[in-house]
Amino acid sequence: MRKNGVKMIKIKAKDVDVFYGKKQALFNISLDIEENQVTALIGPSGCGKSTFLRCLNRMNDVIDICSVKGEILINDFNINDKGCDVVRLREKIGMVFQKPNPFPKTLYENVSYGPTIHGIAQSKQEMDEIVETSLKKAALWEEVKDRLHEPGTGLSGGQQQRLCIARAISVRPEVILMDEPCSALDPIATAQIEELIDELKKEHTIIIVTHSMAQAARVSQNTGFFHLGQLIEHGSTDKIFKNPDNKKTQDYITGRFG
């Protein structure tokens, strides 16, 4: 969103290095993410785009040998600071994974999971409302409203992924990270998710890692191209796809490598 023509920056990464043990996976990444826009991260497999995504909600903490250096400012607050509360951070930054991973619980419990652990709902009624609005925003409500108390694992792949999106938005995060959310889905389910992403960007800032160039072109306003742990080029999607500055970007987009 631009206020008076000025870009609003939501996330500012400065000189981010990531190491897995002694192996360096990301080199000196600096990237600004615009608020209420969709930013696509593209690049060949193993280039570090998912690693960068996982830096943004500190999911790399889960991996013992992984260490992150540099500054990541979200709302001008460095999340790599010692004072950062990871629980609050992850409430603000939601995440959707490559493979749909609903919990082996009912649909209702899946969506109410976040509000429960963050103590957001004060009453059963309020929780019901949160579940309903989240499922509506995830364009799943009409399909599942009669079976909210059946297991979430009984849904189709596309429905499961929309359930995971509903779960992520149930705590009203400011940012949603999506790690190849459509790679396990068929074209129809993919189209539904892409439509949903377009809708969600009104209220959330979205960062999506994708292997599909066509998808990046369809859903994103900004694109960053990663290669071998380096951010080669970033800018508006139009520019990256039509007139990239770097030869590597050009080659990747036209399918000459990767």
């Binding site: 909600n57 999911m59 889960v62 013992d64 990871v86 629980v87 609050r88 951070l89 992850r90 409430e91 939601g94 995440m95 994974f97 493979k99 991973n101 609903p102 919990f103 082996p104 619980k105 999971y113 976040g114 652990i117 963050h118 297991p151 694992t153 995971c164 779960r167 992520a168 705590v171």
Partner: protein, 461 residues
């Protein structure tokens, strides 16, 4: 003699394998393509050696003794002996031929013994000749038949299939046999002791059955109030309950620690250490319970003014619980580790802490496996014998006081079957009845475990 023959046949088997393979190589060297790898030709020939040998050996084992007996007793056939007497004569003959006969030696028996010996030696040598000639004939036949396009792979695979089938059949038949012997003995027991008395009687005192003079006729009325199984069923479940009170919390928590909290280095050392507990023989736990824990509890209790038996249910149950810890810990660790990482990621990404993730996502997902491991622990506790025999006493008290001594089904089976016992006596049959009930209890536990696991099984996909 048999051993030498057997070794020789095995050697022959290896030789035929070697020759089969060699012939295959020879065929291969003439640029013909074989239908199977050369080893299959070898195995094929070895099977042609093994099967005839096995068949003849088993036929011989079945028929030789009967035929020899028939021939020996033929001499007595017209002298009007009864079958029992003939059997006695034959046993005497055999004993004499082994030089172990101590009675009076009559010329008849001596003649029979000589005949027996000569028949046996004829049988032995003819066996060697027949086995060897048939094997060599069959191997030679098969060897001749081998050619570049003969099928060797299929027969070898079929043979392996048959061997594996026989092995599993043997296991199943043994189980069925044991269950049936339990059932028949139990039925006999309940012909003397009414089922009602056994299931609802509150007085277990099998020693009463010892005093019966075996020449007297069986009088069921003297067994009233002797085989009432309620105290020992109660004791069994009570001690198992105490054991599970120790084993479930400790085992489960250490399993969760190992799976979720411990670093890979700690896990690498801690897991084998815990599993060592499972390798300690139960008899060691038994004297640990009887000599250390029991007296310690008694002293502790006495100092607090409680009356504690030196052989208390608490000591036996507690030590049994320690014995079961590694089963629950190790199994639940495996189950928790196999919960997909994607579920943990999903929960962490929602901002859940480690303990919330374990409580709300991982534990429910792993529940079927955990329940399975607990039920396995319960059946171990119910079936455990040694610790109870040594630490909890043998008197079947009906009590729910953990400081008194009680007894269990397994311990009572030991009591009944130690020393002299007669088959067909209600005292002995009581052991079968107890074994049967134990079997039914563990069977039910297993069925329930399977049901629970099925009902709560959650698909991760």
């Amino acid at each position: 003699m048999n051993l030498i023959l057997f070794t020789f046949i095995v050697l022959l088997g290896f030789t035929s394998y070697y020759f089969g393979r060699k012939k295959a190589y020879t065929i291969q060297s003439t640029k013909k393509r074989l239908t199977a790898l050369p080893q299959f030709y070898g195995y094929y020939l070895a099977i042609w050696c093994a099967i005839p040998a096995f068949i003849i050996f088993s036929l011989w084992a079945i028929f030789e003794p009967t035929i020899v007996k028939l021939l020996v007793l033929n001499d007595y056939s017209n002298q009007g002996y009864l079958d029992d007497e003939l059997n006695l004569i034959y046993e005497k003959t055999k004993a004499l031929s082994r030089g172990q006969f101590t009675g009076e030696i009559t010329p008849f028996i001596e003649a029979s013994a000589e005949k027996y010996l000569s028949l046996r030696s004829i049988a032995q040598s003819s066996k060697v000749v027949i086995v060897l000639s048939i094997i060599i004939a069959s191997v030679a036949y098969a060897y001749k038949r081998i050619s570049s396009n003969s099928r060797t792979r299929e027969p070898v695979e079929k043979f392996l299939n048959a061997v594996l089938f026989t092995a599993s059949l043997a296991a199943i038949l043994t189980t069925v046999g044991i269950v049936f012997s339990l059932i028949f003995q139990t039925i006999d027991f309940f012909k003397v002791i009414p089922l009602f008395d056994f299931v609802f009687g509150t007085h277990w005192y099998p020693a009463k059955a010892f005093v019966r003079d075996s020449s007297e006729a069986l009088d069921p009325s003297m067994y009233s109030d002797t085989f009432g199984a309620v105290p020992i069923f109660a004791g069994t479940f009570f001690i198992a309950f105490i054991a599970m009170c120790v084993a479930i919390p400790i085992g489960l928590m250490s399993g969760i620690y190992l799976a979720e909290y411990a670093s890979s280095k700690v896990r690498q050392y801690a897991k084998p250490l815990i599993e060592i507990l499972a390798g300690i023989p139960t008899v060691v736990y038994g004297f640990f319970a009887a000599l250390t824990v029991g007296p310690f509890l008694k002293e502790l209790g006495t100092s607090m003014g409680l009356e504690v038996s030196a052989e208390s249910a608490l000591a036996a149950g507690g030590v049994m619980g320690i014995m079961i810890i590694p089963f629950i810990s190790s199994l639940s660790d495996d189950v928790i580790t196999s919960v997909p990482q994607s579920l943990r990621d999903g929960s962490y990404a929602m901002g859940a802490t480690k303990s919330e993730t374990i409580k709300r996502v991982i534990f429910p997902a792993a529940l079927p496996g955990i329940v399975g491991s607990i039920l396995l622990g319960v059946s171990r506790a119910i079936g455990e014998t040694m610790i109870v025999v040594m630490a909890s006493g043998l008197a079947a008290n009906l009590t729910l006081n953990p400081l008194e001594s009680t007894s269990t089904i397994t311990a009572q089976i030991v009591v009944i079957l130690i020393g002299d016992q007669a088959f067909g006596d209600p005292k002995t049959q009581a052991a079968f009845a107890l074994g049967m009930s134990l079997f039914l209890v563990t069977l039910c536990l297993n069925i329930v475990a399977l049901r629970v696991v099925k009902k709560y099984r959650e698909k991760y996909e």
